[in-house]
Amino acid sequence: MFENLSARLEGAFKTLKGQGKITELNIAETVKEIRKALVEADVNYKIAKTFTDEVKAEALGQNVLTAVSPGQLMVKIVNDKLQELLGGSTSEINLNANPAIILIAGLQGSGKTTFSGKLSKFIKSKGRNVLLVAGDVYRPAAIDQLKVLGEQVGVEVYTEIENKNPVEIAQNAIKHAKSNGFNVVIVDTAGRLSVDEQMMTEIANVKKAVNPTEILFVVDSMTGQDAVNTAQAFNERLDFNGVVLTKLDGDTRGGAALSIKSVVNKPIKFVSMGEKMEALDVFHPDRMASRILGMGDIVSLVERAQEVFDQEEAERLQKKMSRNEFNFEDFLSQLQQIKKMGNIKDLMGMIPGVGKAIKDIDINDDAFKGIEAIIQSMTPEERRKPELMNGSRRKRIAIGSGQGVEEVNKLMKQFEEMRKMMKTMNKLQGAGRSMRGLPFRR
């Protein structure tokens, strides 16, 4: 997601390559490039200026003589600075109240309702009893939207169709939560402009009335220079606890994240990146900084995999693999687990070195569809015993799945190779096997 910014910074560092040490003269161009890259990435003009001034001051400082290469030194300085700007340490959502009340606020179209759905699923998966509250009484069908999402994730949605007063709705919802054993209440609200005095007063009143444990400001990661103004205005009225960055599965450079963090000094708690209800991540500033510099985000990937992969299922698979009994049924279930993890391109993008390489390649989320169709066209027996597959069976499966025979053959071959690889890996090492050898086609 931040590939573009990484690419730009790498470009800026190039002009430093082959230089003996950093001087006022040879750094000038780099500093300008970094600043330009940041502004093009939608980092606020003034913040980009301050940032580059600090980078410059540090680069010209004590480390110059010991630097192995000026380029490496600059990477380190920029990385450190970015981390500092993004916030230093991880900050988790505060649910220490009963019920914990989370108020969601932001501009129109920033993605509040979708995020509310995702957050309810996220908190539910931690074993809490969550209630969603439909507090957007203005936008047509906003209540229906939340209801549909609630149904999708299996969370109750509190609505008052006739009531146009969000303060009352929130208060009633909390009463409802208390008497029905909900311990987390997520209050979705209408989108509002920071200059709309009446609407800003309204949400301030909601805050006063329900005294939220946590107020989250939701912001579109594609936001430009205005991010600073909006974040500041919402912060003045609500003194929110954290920021949520949405639509990060796009190709925005996401400079707004840097601007907001440095102007309101509130942690970014979540990043939201896709239309699936699982596509939500806790924000890790340290990882994000290295991600900006193109160092990948392997830790997030592993954690996401851990959340989704059913532990028992993984162990069962691992046993099968070690006995070389891995069959098409297992393969199918594994594919389905991967799909649950969200957008495949996002997952790949977290692997160091891959992010930039796949920037312009479209990885179809339906890439596994053909494979699934083929496996689903097999008889249960064929799935369990891949060795049964002969020419006529392959032909039948090809017709049944709407794929060519060559596609079926290719899958069989890939599958055999995978089995071989598993065998080798079994000999080589223990843990982590279930993640490997998956055929990301092409």
Partner: protein, 317 residues
Amino acid sequence: MGLFNFFSKEKKAKLDQGLEKTKTSLLSRIGKALAGRSTVDDDFLDELEEILVSSDVGINTTLKIIERIQDRVSRDKYLGEAELNTLLREEITALLPEPEAHLSQDFNLPEVKRPYVIMVVGVNGVGKTTTIGKMAYQYKQKGYKVVLGAADTFRAAAVDQLKIWGTRVGVPVIEKGMNADPAAVAFEAVKEAIDQNADVCIIDTAGRLHNKVNLMNELSKIKRVMQKLTDGVPHEVLLVLDASTGQNAFEQAKQFTAATEVNALALTKLDGTAKGGVVIGVSEQFKTPVRYIGVGEAMEDLQVFNKHEFIDSLFSN
């Protein structure tokens, strides 16, 4: 409303009330930067750069404007504030594409075979459905017969949202429910519009991020399927941009244009603090005119963009 401080009087009055946004508008900032200057020096250019970049105009467009001014100044020998004002106005005017002759400025439909079909596209959350509701209202006010097509069958309750707008404005909404094939809905809507002798048919589509190729292909398909009914549709492919969007708008314009040949832009949420300056660069680079601007929550709060009014308001005192 910053950059786009150019509303008709009664609307302007309503919008200005209590907002005092003009204080930070591009106009007043440039005016301040210009005041009392007799030369174009680095200070002025730095200030101009900051003003433009802070309005999301973008580095490239900003540098282009500044370069042209430097050129002109060295050639024409800048004398005073008034001349510099004219000069800036000319340079920004030159960047914005001329409005198309057949698109008149007051929600009048051009002389083409009816129905005039408008397909509305854009990323998630920019305000497509709301803009369509407002368009339906404006065209209906003009006495046109309007049909809406609910081809956003993906986002939860999107069909309901459009149906509510349909009821509010009093125009029919063609729908096949959620999860229906959007191309089939679009086809049906255009067909209904033809059968009902409607003047204008507006197709809503699901918001999609422009880097998702399969979703962009789906848009191309929606367009192709409509063309099976009658040639030349959609007449207008309207890309909706959120005024608060930064430089990513360029990528949006690029990808949506590649998939659907966007020929008009709508800029929404200009009643906020966002300046929407990115539209200058986008409009220039893709030679796509801004057609509509969204300036508020009410049904009436959609206006046809007028380049000359825009420039006037930007530079008048």
